[in-house]
């Protein structure tokens, strides 16, 4: 049977008669009146897929494996979250994997220089779906303290899910960012920052040819957002 995925919550507003139809079907289900294909569709849409989605999202969000990716000062504060005061093991995220193949969260901690950007992108590409990225600190989210020739903001070359501001952000702030990401994964895996990249789930949509703008870097510099 073909499984139809349905958006959880969010999405386009539901027309009122759509709701009425669903209400009637629910009533029929409770009465035991749904038969045949109707019943199959109902079960797929409501019971199995939804609960399954939720269970998978719950499992994924509570067992994120961050990749060890410390670049600069923010890396020291990232090491602090593994340390005893802000203990990331409480949430299950203490298993930092060195290999990108085994990791599913990339915490970009530190300033990304132009020499490092292709390396970061390559590491990000080597990670398996589903994967998320947190831009930790001011330097990776925007250019941070250094608005100059040598730094690249992370949004320019890879999709980022959560930006954590700070220079460096306190370990508690980074924890807040990670927990926000966890909430995002649990509740609305299709929504969030990635919507801007035209992604499906966590998969990035890469344009088929070079003439289109890349899905990443959706920010067209608008005229009145002159830099800091």
């Amino acid at each position: 049977m073909a499984v139809k995925r349905e958006k959880l919550g969010g999405g386009e507003p539901v027309a009122s008669d759509d709701f009425r139809i669903r209400q009637l079907r629910a009533r029929d289900m409770l009465r035991g009146d749904l038969e045949g294909t109707d019943l199959d569709t109902y079960v797929e849409e409501r019971v199995l897929t939804t609960t399954m989605d939720k269970a998978v999202a719950w499992a994924r969000s509570n067992a994120l494996f961050p990749a060890t990716f410390g670049l600069a000062c923010c890396a020291i504060e990232m090491m602090s979250i593994v340390a005893a005061r802000v203990d990331v093991a409480r949430f299950g995220f203490e298993a930092f994997r060195a290999s990108p193949r085994q990791a599913d969260l990339l915490i970009l901690s530190g300033r990304v220089s132009i020499k490092m950007a292709p390396v970061v992108r390559r590491i990000y590409d080597q990670m398996l779906e589903p994967k998320w990225a947190i831009a930790m600190g001011a330097c990776s989210s925007s250019m941070g303290v250094f608005n100059n020739y040598a730094i690249v903001p992370a949004d320019k070359f890879m999709p980022v899910d959560v930006h954590v501001p700070g220079c460096p952000p306190r370990p508690e702030a980074l924890m807040h960012g990670i927990l926000k990401l966890r909430k995002m994964i649990q509740e609305d895996p299709d929504m969030g920052w990635r919507e801007g990249y035209g992604a499906r789930g966590t998969e990035e949509v890469v344009p088929a040819d070079d003439t289109q703008d890349s899905a990443v870097n959706v920010f067209v510099p608008r005229s009145n957002t002159a830099g800091a």
Binding site: T68, F69, G70, L71, A72, C73, A75, I76, E77, M79, S80, V82, A83, A84, R85, A98, P100, G110, R111, S113, K115, M116, V119, I123, C139, V145, F146, N147, N148, Y149, A150, I151, C167, P168, R170
Partner: protein, 422 residues
Amino acid sequence: MSSTDVTRSGASEYRQMEESITMAPVERLGTDELDQELLTLNMGPHHPATHGVLRLLVTLDGEVVRDLKPIIGYVHTGIEKTAEDKSYWKAIPVIERMDYLAYYFNAMAFCGATETLLEVEVPPRAQYLRVIHLELNRIMSHLVWLGTSALDLGAMSMFWYCFRDRETILDLFEYSSGQRMHTRYIQVGGVADDLPDGWERKCREFCADMPSRVDQYNDLLANNEIVLQRLRGVCPLAESELLKLGVTGPLLRAAGNPWDLRKAMPYSSYEHFDFDIPVGTVGDNWDRFAVRVQEIKESVKIIVQALDGLPEGPWITDDRKVALPPRHELATSMEALIHHFKLVTEGFRVPPGEVYYPIESPRGELACFVRSDGSSKPARVHMRDPSFVNLQATAPMTEGSYIADLIATLAMLDPVLGGIDR
């Protein structure tokens, strides 16, 4: 723009990049019937054991390292160029983010250079406060080094112990300046603010605890057979070689040369304090380890002496043309308001000249070169970072040793890539 481009063949871009790196002439080994080939291994820039984004091109003969070429620049931030764009006061936070484990030292070198140019005097209380915070930073840097080095060697629990003490120090920093890292506490002419109530008591509690903690760390590691085997006698380098390579700091002291700028050319009233300089004998990894651990204890001694002898007085120079006036004066004095305005918008003008101000950072001689052309922005700021120079010693140290020894040596070298790449 450059007229000296390296000639390029028609290979792909990536291969072209590789071509420009010439390996040292290491001959192909062919003894007896076995024809051995050398393997070039690329370690990094993303690697859990390279203390940051350091890329090493290692030429291996089996597991033995024959040659090593470090490639850096992966966290180059253009700090020196950014500092030219900002006034002296506003450049301090930028300079601080260079060597990100020794941020007080970066600020101290820059402020010291600027004060030398301005010929402004730092009040004695400010000097003592600077010393206290610098030594706390030194302890913190050595703790991070100890935790991450033990992690590299496999002794994972040290990481948590060291970071626990680091949290206490960061609490002290947060209490005195408001920020955990990159605190912008050391300003031109003194320090940003006086110590709050209760800071001294907390600091003394920390200093009372720390020597016994260091002893505990020693008990954990120093008598451990595995740690001893991995560090004792591994990758020594003679003192003359180190001096030729310009290596300073704990690496040089481990080889037997007691060169420490705090004792040799004291700055900021270090001459008032009585402390020892731990010196090694052989210059192998074990000595580097022991020297740094002992330095933590010496720093605690300095902090206690500084707290005991902390003089009263202003914490920043009285020269209103350099330091911001206290805020309560702005309501009553017109000159204070004008000074405040000028300092915040344009900044103070520094007389033209060039100054090189060296201090002793946890990794060696950290110096700041400032060239001023008479305006309110520095014309050139260069940080002579110790890790940048110390990195050149990696290749001579690790030649002929195993990869595992290479990892241990890198850990004992304590490179901080922020300082190397600036």
